[in-house]
């Protein structure tokens, strides 16, 4: 028996297949301007004859009529983190459009959550924009900030921060310093937001695209006051993995 989880995020659509023990396939594509079409294509191309249950999640979760169940990304991220990091107590996800903090109970179920969906400055989009502005790409952010001294970014708003960055470039501040400054800014903001739910030594799982960067993980751990934040090479698939796992549990109950 195989189940499929599809996570239609604001930037990327992620899909995985799960066989009850492990992830047997995964794919990721830009959501673009027709997120429903991207979901449909991934669904059609990945579906196997024994795929018996499909769960859709993410912003576009209502767009796949073939889905057996629609579950929000909060619940899916919780389930995904509990799978990728079984000791996980809290999840911090910095996505393309929002950031969220999720607390899990001992069974890996969501106990409480907070979402920042009002402000772009705390999201992945802010760093992506900064990297474009300095003529580079988010993929190489760790190399870009090697040996850098963080510049101070004061603006509380992504749009004004961009003006501030242009100002810093005009003063010939090193691009690496600016980007590291932005990483500090976003991590500090995330930690302040997270402290409403997370206190003391907590096993934190960091998901979303930014979690792949070591520099961001280290900075975030520093601001949270924990030794490290855990991630997983598949953390960007976290929501889709959670969806597939929750789908598997439902498929078992249906039997």
């Amino acid at each position: 028996m195989i189940t499929m989880g599809i996570d239609s995020g604001s930037a990327m659509t992620k899909a995985v297949l799960y066989d009850g023990e492990k992830i047997v396939a995964c794919r990721m594509e830009p959501s673009g301007s027709s997120p429903g079409k991207v979901m449909r294509r991934l669904y059609e191309e990945m579906k196997t004859p024994d795929t018996c249950y499909v769960v859709a999640t993410g912003y576009g979760r209502e767009l796949l009529p073939e889905a057996d169940k629609v579950i929000t990304e909060i619940t899916c991220h919780g389930a995904g983190a509990a799978y990728l990091y079984p000791d996980c107590e809290a999840v911090i996800d910095i996505g393309g459009q929002d950031s969220k903090v999720i607390l899990l109970n001992d069974n890996g179920q969501v106990r409480d959550f907070l979402m920042n969906d009002k402000c772009a400055a705390g999201t992945g989009r802010f760093l992506e924009m900064t990297m474009v502005r300095v003529g580079s790409d988010i993929e190489v952010i760790d190399d870009f900030v090697k040996g850098a001294e963080p510049a101070v970014i004061n603006s509380m708003c992504a749009v004004f921060a961009e003006s501030e960055i242009i100002g810093l470039l005009a003063q010939e501040t090193k691009p690496g310093d600016i980007v590291l400054g932005c990483i500090n800014s976003i991590c500090r903001r995330t930690a302040i937001f997270a402290q409403k739910l997370i206190s003391g030594k907590t096993n934190v799982f960091f998901s979303g695209g930014l979690a792949q960067s070591e520099a961001i993980r280290k900075t975030l751990a520093g601001y949270l006051g924990v030794d490290e934040v855990k991630t997983h090479p598949m953390s960007q698939y976290n929501g889709a993995i959670g969806a597939a796992i929750l789908g598997y549990q439902r498929a078992l109950r249906k039997k």
Partner: protein, 382 residues
């Protein structure tokens, strides 16, 4: 003979009451009935009703006039205040247009200041509402109620007798009793009807000008809900949500819809037009002004400091309505309710041991998608 209507039609009728009252007010005005426009539940409607005036609510709940309001008011202000001011300034609210007198109270800072500006286009009277539920506070509000009565007598050339006030206290108590009875039918599990219908009925009843007949009308609704429920009609077993926070009629009902569309039912609504202000006045108290002062000052609004009555009511309602989770709606820049989320969250999560979430919103429809995701996730968690 009036045709017997079914429950959905009656709910619709109450929900539409505000619009329908526009014509009623015009007619009443033409017949020479004084119209008093009010903002908060702190205003004792018994006083203007005792001189035969029509009392209309002026709190506006749509974003239509906010751009006009922002010509004078700051952007970062509560949408209820901006909307109310905007409707008044543009003369788009018939209730405001027909009001002979507008009455406000010194509740939150934003409203207090807005009333000062409102005075430029309408006669405005502001009652000084104490911030503390103490004996001194009651005594002061009692004096303010008498001052308000005297102002009405002088302005409209009439006399408001204590007997007339006593009668209105009784009438208002009967309305409150029926509204309470109707809302407490939602304590049944499974709930008999959707929470949105109950909220709309409670809110709409505030715009019914036939005060003397209103208790009877609400009783009919409650009787019908009870009868249908006895016959097995209900919404089925669903997670039970209590909603609290800033005034949440009109456009803010998007949150209630998101909760109920996600498969839960709003069993209790602790906001202004719901259970918060449903308190009875002591009819045995020989001093009608003292009785009114104590009844209205007892309302657990966040403009009181401290505000123990809100927490006590929430504590009780969570048990009585067998609540599974609490949603606190905060209108943007509503500082008092926003600050109180820390106290409410502590009560709900730590003392009552159930989940709690906060939704900060305004009257726009821009965040409908985000609210839907949050409410769905909250309900999946229960």
């Amino acid at each position: 003979m009036e045709l017997k209507k079914d429950l959905p039609a009656i709910f619709e009728e109450f929900a539409e009451q505000r619009k329908k009252s526009f014509l009623t007010i015009k007619k009443l005005k033409e017949e020479g009935t004084p119209v008093v426009g009010v903002f908060c539940t702190y205003l004792p409607k018994e006083i203007p009703n005792a001189m035969g005036a029509a009392v209309v609510g002026l709190c506006s709940v749509s974003d239509e006039t906010i751009p006009d309001a922002e010509k004078d008011l700051p952007r970062n202000l509560c949408p209820l205040i901006k909307s109310s001011y905007g409707f008044a300034k543009t003369d788009k609210c018939p209730f405001f247009y027909f009001s002979d007198l507008v009455v406000g109270e010194t509740t939150c800072d934003g409203k207090k200041k807005m009333y000062e500006m409102l005075g430029e286009f309408k006669p405005v009277h502001v009652m000084e509402l104490p911030n503390r539920q103490s004996e001194e506070g009651y005594a002061m509000y009692r004096r303010e109620i008498i001052r308000f009565k005297e102002l009405l007598e002088e302005k409209f050339g009439t006399v408001i007798t204590e007997d007339a006030i006593r009668h209105q206290i009784h009438v208002r108590n009967e309305i409150t009793k029926e509204l309470l009875r109707m809302q407490y039918l939602m304590a049944n599990d499974p709930a008999p009807v959707s929470g949105l219908d109950i909220v709309n009925t409670a809110y709409g009843s505030g715009f019914n000008m036939e005060v003397e007949k209103l208790a009877g009308r609400i009783k009919e609704v409650a009787d019908m809900i009870e009868k249908d429920y006895a016959e097995g009609k209900n919404v089925g077993k669903r997670p039970r949500i209590l909603v609290t926070g800033s005034p949440s009629g009109g456009a803010a009902l998007k949150v209630i819809r998101a909760i109920e569309d996600s498969g839960a039912v709003v069993v209790a609504f602790e906001n202004c037009s719901g259970l918060k202000s449903m308190v009875l006045t002591d009819e045995e108290n020989p001093d009608v002004y003292d009785a009114l002062a104590r009844r209205y000052m007892g309302i657990g609004c966040s403009c009181m400091s401290p505000n123990p009555n809100r927490l006590e009511m929430l504590d009780r309602l969570i048990d009585e309505f067998k609540v599974d989770g609490v949603v606190d709606i905060i209108l943007q820049a509503c500082h008092t309710y926003n600050v109180e989320t820390a106290l409410v969250g502590k009560l709900v999560k730590e003392k009552k041991g159930i989940p709690y979430t906060i939704v900060e919103t305004d009257y726009s429809q821009a965040d409908v998608g985000q609210i839907k995701t949050r409410m769905e996730a909250f309900i999946e968690m229960l």
